[in-house]
Amino acid sequence: MSDTTVLVSQSRLSSPPAKMIHSLFLVNSSGDIFLEKHWKSVVSRSVCDYFFEAQERASEPENVPPVIPTPHHYLISVLRHRIYFVAVIQSEVPPLFVIEFLHRVVDTFQDYFGVCTEAAIKDNVVVVYELLEEMLDNGFPLATESNILKELIKPPTILRTVVNTITGSTNVGEQLPTGQLSVVPWRRTGVKYTNNEAYFDVVEEIDAIIDKSGSTITAEIQGVIDACVKLTGMPDLTLSFMNPRLLDDVSFHPCVRFKRWEAERILSFIPPDGNFRLLSYHVSCQNLVAIPVYVKHNITFREGSSQGRFELTLGPKQTMGKGLEAVLISSQLPRGVLNTNLNPSQGTYTFDPVTKLLSWDVGKINPQKLPSLKGSMSLQAGASKPDENPTINIQFKIQQSALSGLKVNRLDMYGEKYKPFKGIKYMTKAGKFQVRT
């Protein structure tokens, strides 16, 4: 036993540092490693100590630097769903390569288990391991398309678990995957549906910073088209827009034929099976963006007094006749605020005295009766007046409308005989929408 270890360590000394991802550790928010996977030789989990150090130094979980150099390794981590995915790297590699891959891993887990939590990963540890094994070979990404992975390893469902326990069958695909070999690696072969449907969701998010006086400092629209395509065979779709020139900067799913877009501004593609993001686009801030909501605020702290006023009124603006829904206000109040005593005209509000986070679930805005939140804040006695008023973050949704005015013209299908059911939905949401007060 000891002989072999010596031998191994010798050979490793002389070998060049291998590139790409060496190992992966999953760390939960309390700093426990709950899963490890090595694609090359085993790296001791003590390497994570450097990560834990950085974690301790960081005031917030998000502040842990994504790239941490250690004497012999480099740790590149992403934080998703309160789990750190820490990749161990031995030598030079584009950091985005690793980060992008780790996010792809999280997306895959989410796709498989519905949620990507510590519990879900622990419950499905074997599937997780099988997935990780297929996704990387020797640290280099091999199969990252969810459609291919699903051919290799079937996602666990309640029904399948029951069936598996009774019949002893497995959730590893019986037939060998062919998708990897085809010219359209993103699509499974032999897809069959009785109802052939193709749904497209145009979702736009508006990012904005509104200053104290209500004028827009910056605003831009980021949009995506998410698709859910359940079509038999090998359909070839084309999607055209009424106003494709609106799209300032686009990025595509690999299935989209780029040349066709360049020449004709038409999206032509053989879709993956199931859910996927067809396109994401950007409508630049140079264009004027209509801000659909306004906020009237009056937040004051008086010097020397232990009371502060808090008044907030919301109203719709430039919404093209569509209603604002699911409005949610959140704000990080200054540290000096002890408690609040506020009165919402509708919805519910909460204030957490520890984190100083105020959140107000407004719901739907009725233009006749504008929602407001008024009341007082009690401040720490003797504490000085905070420098800055809190920033207000707003979330909302507008159904049936894309703020940029983007409209899908038509969807055609070639290559298959049947007539699919087609549906397009539009929605606008607030992205990072902040009001400075």
Binding site: S59, Y74, F97, Q332, D387, E388
Partner: protein
């Protein structure tokens, strides 16, 4: 194993080197095999049962056990004890079980080398499996087992897999190369051979992996890339995203060693001219570039052009790698095209933002213009993480200039008030940098910073003091007020760095504040012992300086402080005190030095330069790990400087592709001069036809020329049979048979064609060449050869084909438009050929058979015994076009149609029709498309809607119509945005055929089958001129799209074709008799079409 149950109690969380196997409480939720134990006590659940389960006969139990073992491994527990039990299952039939065993094996083989060898034979067997996926997975596991003894086996397996038929297996072998190399670096030389071989691979699947292996094993062997450079550039778009990243970064390094710098001579980047560029569109920059003497290597341009579309990738790593490629390789004015995409990435996950912002920070130092229009995208949000905030601040500072400083400062004002004090402090530094960089705002900034001195937060105040100190140093004369103000605030400031800064300032400028300085020193003397070290040092400094300038007031104070310092705990302070005392206090020992004390202590000091932390980051290649951590990561490959003189460009020339382009211009011209122009042009509708013609003109007799119409596989098989005819011939066919196992037919032909021509000239093959059409011929040949390149380059089947097809169509259209007015319609149809070159489906005849090759083949076909019939190109394309829509009825839209006699692109059963649409009105016509059609079942492949047709413009589109072998007119509606016009296309019967080539023998055989009621004949009196073979062929070809069949008799002329829709054979015989009479016989099973064709032929031959 047996003492396991006792070990259970000393449960070790770290696992690791612990040899015992722990199970503890961890059981996967699916565990039910251990349930029997669980009834009694969970503590008894142990690994004994795992071993038992693995050795049982039931797959389900084994699987259960493996799942539990995998769960152990996932937690980092040691499960190596079970190795013997697990390895036995390596050959299991159950796929999931097998996979889990593989996972286990790869994890523990290194520790259990002897036992691991037991599994090797299983993999060796699987390497020979007929299923490519099994071969691949066997190689994958075999190469992942890190057991040095099996290195020779691995080497053998890799070599074998590298020449596997399946690209997937070849890809796996590329992965295995890296694994073997890290296991045994001594194999390097052999592995490089394999890499060299795999680099030549044309599959997109392999490209990324092999370049990865190249980067790992032999990144310095740049010479291996030369020959594959162009191929890699062309494949890049179709490679999977991870491979793209690797290839792009490799090509970046390659380009830096092989091309000369596209940047201006002076090297320094000129901000002003840059901004001018920024506004201008691409056209202008192109012109600008040409104006300079620098000429970019076409290969350099190829790389830039082919990577640009990848900026649209959804994969952030790909976008970043293209951005860095442009940064390091593109001419300065072209770099800004990456801006938009980089800014887009800022919407992505936080970690992505972090890396992208770092790179933007480095870029924005050198080139503000690139990101200035997107300044607002870098505004900080209160929800950003701290490191994101500071990066954004950095970029905003870099972007600041005279024009935008007021906007930026207003934004900074908000940040200073932020609750995140660390960030506020960062903002103050940023303000300081803006103040030094832009002299217009220095005073404003300074005033603002002074106001901050009364801030309640001490970090903010401290930072302000430090920054003010630096600012004052740059222009101390005017600012004694500020120094006084700061001295007054001194008591309230507790941060040591700030206090030290104020002390230094007062000391440095003590002559400007003569009243205050001694007072500050007095206060410091009081608190000296309780100050921080850094403050103490500055106090000593201040004391020394005051002693020199104002010794009357401060002598005692200074001595007191120096005494305190002498006994300080910190040796730095003691040292400093001793040094100062010797320097300033004159005594007998001090000698010469004290004379210079004033000049030493009060020397004018240069102002500090406030500069970005990212200033020198660009010494690392952007997007790399080294750039991110700002130190050289292990394995970082330095980006070399541009060579002063470009290395030999011809090393990248690849014979396989080149000759295609080479022979065409030269040969085409020479042939053209030889052959009669008249003939050449009359047949110009079809490329291969022209080839035939040129072939025939070079050969001696016309009968052999017609035999050159032999096409496709037929010709090849012939060739092999009669290979003894010439030595050249035999060489070729042997090379062919070598390839034939792996390559598709069409590809072979291309190779043949391209290898064949003996005259090779070093004409540089570039895409630009193909665009320049000196005459129609050259342009066409070149573009068709580039089409071959693309189709042979990517094996991506129908997808790639249709893509390149559309691409070509566009190219053709754009070319056709300007030509239309000038030249005759022939030119158009000639160019339209491009549409067909990449579709091998309907036309198996190779287009790339070079004339010389055809000439070689001519002799062979005489010995031909093949009975297959091939569709050939049309012998003649009628120029006659028919009115589809008159401009009067069409309200300005006029349309004409003609039959190009091409096999239809869309469906083989369709007849292709070409429609030229012209707008004769004075307003643009929009949305021209095809509407309702009748009969309703009529199958028409419509052209894509024409969005807009400008006045006086015309456009040619092609339709495919399935006439169903009848001459019934196809009626449909031609619609514009406003109107609809009913039009109809009435085909002559002759247009419903496709010409085929066959031998005389076959012709007779077929004719024998089609006698009786399938035969119709008539005797006519021939027109005088129609008595020789050529005019007859011409006349027949005019009437019907038929191919000429070689005939042994002078008085017999035979023509053959098949109907487009049903593929029925149509045979025409013209037998010349005495006194200019002729017997026309038509044999076809289409009893309606026969007589119709006969009527048309009668008319044509007798009339003319």
């Amino acid at each position: 194993m047996l003492n396991m149950s006792t070990n259970n109690l000393s449960y070790n969380d770290q696992g690791g080197s612990d040899s015992a196997v722990e199970v503890g409480q961890e059981t996967t939720p699916t565990t039910n095999a251990g349930a029997g134990f669980g009834l009694f006590s969970t503590n008894f659940k142990k690994n004994d049962d795992l071993k038992e389960m693995l050795e049982s006969n039931k797959d389900s139990l084994k699987l259960e056990a493996m799942k539990r073992i995998i769960a152990l491994i996932a937690k980092g527990k040691n499960a190596s004890e079970l190795f013997p039990a697990v390895v036995k299952n390596v050959a299991s039939k159950n796929i999931e079980l097998k996979k889990l065993v593989y996972v286990y094996l790869v994890r523990y083989a290194e520790e259990q080398q002897d036992l691991a060898l037991l599994s090797i034979s299983t993999f060796q067997r699987a390497l020979k499996d007929p299923n490519q996926l099994i071969r691949a997975s066997a190689l994958r596991v075999l190469s992942s087992i890190r057991v040095p003894i099996i290195v020779p086996i691995m080497m053998l397996a890799i070599k074998e897999a590298a020449s596997d038929m399946s690209p997937y297996v070849r890809k796996t072998s590329a992965h295995a190369i890296q694994k073997l190399y890290s296991l045994d670096p001594d194999q390097k030389e052999h592995l490089i051979e394999v890499i060299e071989k795999l680099l030549k691979d044309k599959s997109t699947l392999v490209a990324g992996s092999v370049v990865m292996a190249f980067e790992e094993v032999c990144p310095d062997r740049i010479d291996l890339i030369h020959k594959n450079y162009r191929k890699l550039c062309n494949l890049l778009v179709d490679v999977e995203e991870w491979g793209q990243v690797v290839i792009i970064s490799m090509l970046t390094r390659y380009a830096r060693t092989q091309f000369t710098s596209p940047w201006k001579e002076d090297g320094l980047f000129d901000e002003n001219s840059e901004r001018a560029f920024y506004e201008s569109d691409e056209e202008k920059t192109e012109n600008e570039k040409e104006a300079k003497s620098y000429m970019m290597d076409p290969d350099h341009r190829l790389l830039l052009r082919n990577t640009k579309p990848l900026l649209q990738s959804r994969n952030t790593a790909v976008v970043m790698s293209v951005a860095q490629l442009y940064w390091h390789l593109a001419p300065k004015h072209e770099i800004s095209i990456v801006t938009k995409s980089l800014v887009r990435l800022l919407r992505s996950h936080r970690e992505v933002q972090y890396i992208v912002l770092q790179n933007i920070a480095t870029m924005s130092i050198q080139r503000k213009g690139m990101f200035e229009p997107y300044m607002k995208s870098f505004y900080v949000r209160s929800t950003d993480a701290t490191h994101i905030k500071s990066l954004k601040l950095e970029i905003l500072t870099n972007l600041a200039n005279e024009a935008n400083i007021s906007t930026i400062l207003r934004e900074f004002q908000t940040y200073v008030k932020s609750q995140d004090k660390q960030f506020a402090a960062g903002t103050i530094q940023a303000i300081g940098r803006c103040a030094t960089n832009i002299s217009e705002v220095t005073d404003t900034c300074l005033q603002g910073l002074v106001l901050l001195l009364s801030n309640r937060d001490e970090t903010v105040v401290a930072e302000s003091v430090v920054v003010i100190k630096k600012l004052l140093q740059t222009q101390p004369t005017q600012h004694s007020d500020i120094i006084k103000h700061m001295a007054k605030l001194f008591d309230n400031i507790t941060v040591p760095m700030a206090r030290a800064s104020i002390l230094w300032l007062i000391g440095e400028y003590c002559e400007r504040v003569p009243k205050i300085a001694p007072d500050v020193l007095r206060k410091m003397a009081k608190t000296f012992t309780s100050e921080e070290d850094i403050v103490k040092l500055q106090t000593v400094n201040l004391a020394a300086k005051l002693y020199l300038t104002n010794s009357k007031q401060t002598k005692l104070l200074t001595q007191y402080i120096l005494n305190l310092g002498k006994y300080d705990q910190n040796y730095d302070i003691r040292d400093r005190t001793r040094f100062i005392r010797q320097l300033i206090v004159p005594n007998e020992k001090s000698g010469a030095l004290s004379k210079y004390a004033r000049r030493i202590l009060l020397a004018p000091k240069p102002a500090p330069v406030l500069e970005s932390a990212y200033k020198d980051r660009d010494r690392y290649q952007l997007g790399t790990l080294s750039h991110t951590i700002n130190t050289k990561a292990s394995g970082y490959l330095e980006l070399s400087d541009w060579p002063a003189v470009a290395p030999d460009q011809s090393v990248r020339n690849v014979e396989v592709i080149e000759p295609v382009k080479e022979w065409t211009p030269s040969l085409g011209k020479s042939k053209l001069s030889k052959s009669s122009d008249d003939k050449f042009y009359s047949d110009s509708g079809e490329e291969e036809e022209k080839e035939k013609c040129s072939g025939s003109s070079s050969s001696d007799d016309s009968s052999s020329s017609s035999s050159s119409e032999e096409s496709g596989s037929e010709a090849e098989s012939d060739e092999e049979k009669s290979s003894s005819q010439s030595s050249e011939e035999s060489n070729k066919s042997s090379s062919q048979s070598e390839n034939s196992s792996s390559e598709s037919d069409s590809e072979q032909k291309k190779k043949n064609a391209t290898k064949k021509p003996p005259q090779k000239k070093t004409v540089k093959p570039t895409a630009k060449d193909s665009d320049s059409d000196e005459n129609g011929n050259v342009a066409k040949e070149a573009s068709s050869s580039s089409a071959e390149e693309s189709s042979s380059g990517s094996e991506s089947g129908s997808d790639a084909d249709s893509d390149s097809g559309t691409e070509h169509k566009k190219k053709t259209k754009s070319k056709a438009k300007p030509k239309m007015e000038v030249k005759s319609k022939k030119v158009v149809s000639l160019l339209d050929l491009d549409d067909f070159t990449p579709t091998p489906v309907t036309q198996p005849k190779s287009y790339v058979l070079s004339p010389s090759l055809l000439g070689d083949l001519e002799g062979l076909s005489l010995a031909n015994v093949s009975s297959t019939m091939q569709v050939s190109g049309p012998a003649f394309v009628p120029e006659k076009s028919h009115d589809l829509l008159h401009r009067m009825t069409g309200k300005g839209l006029s349309a004409q149609y003609q039959f190009p006699r091409q096999p239809c692109l869309y469906q083989p059963t369709m007849v292709s029709v070409q429609i030229s649409l012209t707008n004769t009105s004075d307003h643009p016509l929009e949305q021209i498309h095809i509407g309702d059609r009748s009969p309703t079942g009529l199958n028409i492949y419509c052209f894509n809607t024409i969005e807009c047709l400008q006045p006086e413009a015309s456009v040619t589109v092609s339709l495919g119509i399935d006439f169903n072998d009848s001459t019934q007119a196809a009626n449909f509606q031609l619609c514009t945005k406003e109107d609809q016009f009913s039009v109809s296309i009435q085909p002559a019967v002759g247009e419903l055929f496709l010409p085929i080539t066959m031998t005389e023998q076959d012709f007779r055989k077929e004719q024998g089958k089609l006698l009786g009621m399938n035969e119709s004949s008539a005797t006519i009196t021939m027109a005088a001129e129609n008595t020789t073979s050529q005019p007859i062929s011409r006349q027949v070809a005019t009437v019907a799209n038929l191919g000429v069949v070689p005939s042994g008799q002078d008085n017999l002329h035979r023509f053959a074709g098949k109907t487009a829709s049903s593929g029925a054979v149509v045979l025409v015989t013209v037998e010349l008799k005495e006194s200019s009479t002729a017997l026309i016989t038509i044999n076809t099973e289409k009893s309606v079409m026969g007589p119709m064709l006969l009527r048309d032929l009668k008319q044509a031959l007798s009339q003319a």
